[in-house]
């Protein structure tokens, strides 16, 4: 089994670093970079939902926190020392940078914040929610409400957050001009490397003692409690880890696409993150990645040809995959091979 994982990683590396850049045009490669960002979010959802049974319908919030942290730094860097970002001069009529923007001028702080900020928010919210044993459907609805509240909050502060526009027109990435296709390529490679690295990390986590415990909490929280573990802590770790991954994805999305906006954070994009995970196979390692990329690709190509059809397809996918094939395509493959291990029953 282990050599297969190694072979898988090698194959992934060859495809991402060798084949894709060779055969795709600059434009399509930048689209792939975007899809891989979604895949990063999907890995986290796979961990929290597939393994931990925590259906987080608010991953957009963490994606957004990471994205905004990165975009704030890049906007400040674009503006130059002592200047205000362009949109702030236009809409904010501020004389000075708001205090909560200031630390983001520091690249180290901003980079750390892209991952740590979402994790902190998840930690705070998760502690409150899990400690009081709010779970299942309640948790899903609360995470959705969080996404809605976050969007309203961001939009309301137009002068300092760019409002509905979000933060756009990002020119440079740590001194590199993002207009240059060579640098766009570099961004793609960074994203691909992050994805591979994260997959290795999550694989390790899934196969660890903690990974077993997480699945146990998913399948029977009370039994785990009676065994002397605190399920709240177990769940919290998965939730916080997933938030960190979404934050990282958001941070990488910004240089790849050049924009972060509330449109990427709300209820609808948050639930869209989930569908790819469901299709690929929520409890597997690679399923969410492949599912997320496939869904994003399908969205781009289908909407190029038939705009309305994508919504029908998306709706149908939710219905068919989850009702009929809860294990996703990964379970289909397993069914064909008749190897009933790594089972997924009702989480």
């Amino acid at each position: 089994m282990k050599w297969r994982a190694a072979a898988g990683f090698a194959l992934g590396a060859v495809v991402l670093f060798g084949v894709a850049p060779a055969v795709l045009s600059d434009f399509r490669l930048s689209l792939l970079a975007k899809y891989l960002c979604f895949a990063l979010v999907a890995v986290g959802i796979g961990l929290a939902w597939g393994r931990g049974g925590l259906l987080t319908l608010g991953q957009g919030v963490f994606f957004g926190l990471g994205g905004y942290a990165m975009a704030m730094h890049l906007k400040l860097a674009d503006a130059g020392e002592g200047n205000l970002p362009d949109f702030m001069e236009l809409y904010g009529q501020l004389d000075a940078l708001p205090w909560w923007w200031r630390p983001f001028a520091n690249p180290v702080f901003a980079l750390a914040a892209t991952v740590l900020l979402p994790m902190l928010v998840a930690l705070a919210l998760g502690t409150l929610i899990f400690r009081r044993r709010v779970r299942g459907a309640y948790f899903a609805i609360l995470s959705q409400a969080l996404a809605a509240a976050m969007v309203i909050l961001l939009i309301g502060q137009q002068g300092t957050t760019g409002g509905t526009n979000g933060l756009t027109d990002i020119e440079g990435f740590f001194g590199y001009d993002l207009d240059d296709p060579v640098n766009q390529r570099m961004v793609y490679f960074i994203i691909a490397a992050c994805l591979l690295g994260l997959l290795a990390l999550v694989r390790q986590l899934m196969h660890s003692r903690y990974g077993e415990l997480l699945v146990a909490v998913r399948d029977s929280e009370e039994r785990v409690r009676f065994l002397g573990y605190n399920p709240a802590t177990v769940k919290l770790v998965a939730y916080v880890a997933a938030a960190g991954m979404a934050g990282l994805a958001g941070a990488l999305f910004v240089p790849a696409v050049g924009i972060i906006s509330p449109a990427l954070i709300g209820i609808v994009p948050s639930i869209e993150f989930v569908i790819g995970v469901a299709i690929g196979g929520r409890a597997t390692l690679l399923g969410p990645v492949l599912g997320a990329v496939a869904v994003a690709y399908a969205k781009t190509t289908l909407s190029e040809r038939f705009p309305g059809a994508w919504i029908y397809l998306q709706g149908a996918l939710f219905v068919i995959v989850i009702a009929v094939l809860p294990g996703g395509l990964a379970s289909l493959a397993r069914l064909l091979r008749r190897q009933p291990h790594g089972r997924l029953e009702h989480p």
């Binding site: 282990k2 050599w3 994982a5 190694a6 990683f9 090698a10 590396a13 670093f17 060798g18 850049p21 045009s25 600059d26 434009f27 930048s30 689209l31 975007k34 236009l90 809409y91 009529q93 309203i152 939009i155 309301g156 137009q158 409002g163 509905t164 526009n165 979000g166 756009t168 027109d169 990002i170 020119e171 207009d179 240059d180 296709p181 060579v182 640098n183 390529r185 570099m186 490679f189 960074i190 691909a192 490397a193 591979l196 690295g197 290795a200 694989r203 390790q204 696409v257 050049g258 924009i259 906006s261 449109a263 990427l264 781009t300 909407s303 190029e304 705009p307 309305g308 994508w310 919504i311």
Partner: protein, 412 residues
């Protein structure tokens, strides 16, 4: 992958590849920083249509797309542009700003279109602006907007603030309205518009009695209307967008407020929106635009007739549709004057180009890339159409930064 070491080795290899490849990644001749060359091979010229065909904004943007298609068909029937037929390539922005940016890039880089027509919300325009600037490609933006912008690669064929909001305020002032209440959706256009209104009011002896914003899509206006009612303003300046208008006007009427006692002047309600809100709630209220379906003139008669023949007799024409329709003709005139599809030459030919539009004569102002337009205040009638009650008497010079208005000096 049996050991940590194995994993680390693979990762290191991956990272090494990542760091080496960029150096030899970019191939020459694909894209250059001097912009993308337009595809002029064959006997057609491609143009991009970038509108939301799905999602919340589809309500408004589909009609804009239809108007652009109408203009393209008319031009093609008359022989095309520089001997080439226009081939429209339509993309769906899906009411999602990052998708707009992605689709714009696709139209420019993969289809190599001559120009792109579309976008509606300010947010979608802001999202695509860097794409057009970076690739040195043209966007024609057909919707009234908040001004304070002048991208070298965008032509703005809708009104800027001094062609819509300022005339609206002038009209209220002439009607003897001394106080206004501002209601708007929470996004860039209403907030910027209200900033301008407050500056105008301060300089013109008007009082602003209150200012309220509702999140986009919000349909709960009980409290806001209560506040408006308690403020007893002479008029309400409404910059709400989309669905919110329906809820606002229903609430407004239930509160017993009428056009006679406290008129509402709206800048985002055109004929299409009147239809979906209902004249029961709107009759007698005011709007500020540059064009109405009822605008007189043979160019408009022809436009309205052609539109209804193609899309249905019950479909009204509106200001953004007209501005989109006009933008195609303006592009054609620019290309023909430049005798080239090349972006820089087309831009260079823009100044002074005129067109007998449905709204009357329009002229491109080359310096700002906006157009001279006639401002019109209209009153909503019981039949759902808007009739003009006042106009600026002739085209108003576009002034996106309001430089000619001393009271606006602190705004930009």
């Amino acid at each position: 992958m049996s050991t940590i070491r194995g994993r680390v080795a693979v990762l290191c290899a991956a990272l090494a590849v990542a760091l080496v490849l960029p150096g030899c990644g970019s191939k020459t001749g694909e894209t250059t920083s001097t912009g993308v060359t337009i595809d002029v091979s064959g006997d057609t010229i491609k143009v991009g249509l970038l509108n939301s065909l799905s999602g919340t904004m589809a309500i408004s943007e589909v009609t804009v797309r239809d108007a652009i298609v109408l203009a393209i068909e008319e031009i093609n029937a008359a022989g095309g542009v520089l001997g080439k037929k226009i081939q429209p390539i339509s993309e769906d922005g899906a009411s999602d700003w990052p998708t707009f940016a992605e689709k714009a890039e696709k139209l420019i880089k993969e289809n190599r279109v001559g120009a792109v027509f579309g976008c509606w919300t300010s947010a979608s325009r802001k999202a695509v602006k860097p794409v057009f600037e970076e690739n040195k490609s043209l966007l024609f933006y057909p919707v009234q907007y908040e001004g304070l912008e002048q991208s070298p690669y965008i032509f703005y064929t809708g009104a800027t603030t001094n062609q819509q909001i300022v005339p609206g305020l002038d009209y209220l002032k002439a009607q003897g309205k001394k106080s206004v209440y501002l209601v708007g959706s929470d996004y860039v256009f209403p907030r910027t518009a209200n900033k301008i209104i407050k500056a105008y009011a301060a300089a013109n002896g008007m009082t602003v009695l209150g200012e309220d914003y509702a999140p986009l899509g919000s349909t709960e206006f009980g409290t806001i209307v209560n506040k408006v009612k308690a403020a007893k303003a002479d008029a309400v300046f409404n910059t709400l967008n989309g669905d919110s208008n329906v809820a606002f006007f229903k609430e407004y009427k239930s509160a017993g407020l009428t056009a006679a006692t406290m008129p509402v002047i709206s800048v985002s309600i055109a004929e299409e929106e009147v239809k979906s809100i209902g004249t029961q709630y709107l009759a007698g209220q005011l709007t500020a635009w540059n064009y109405y379906q009822t605008t007189t003139g043979s160019a408009n008669d022809k436009f309205v007739k052609a539109y209804k023949a193609k899309f249905g007799a019950d479909k009204p024409t509106s200001d953004p549709m007209e501005a989109a329709y006009v933008s195609v003709y303006l592009w054609k005139a620019m290309v023909e004057k430049a005798k080239s599809f090349e972006v820089e030459k087309v831009k260079g030919a823009s100044d002074g180009i005129t067109f007998q539009a449905p709204e009357g004569l329009v002229t491109i102002d080359g310096a700002t890339q906006h157009i001279h337009k006639t401002a019109r205040i209209g009153k909503i009638g019981d039949d759902g159409l808007i009739t003009e009650v006042w106009n600026s008497g002739g085209p108003v010079k576009p002034d996106p930064y309001l430089k000619a208005y001393p009271w606006a000096s602190g705004l930009s």
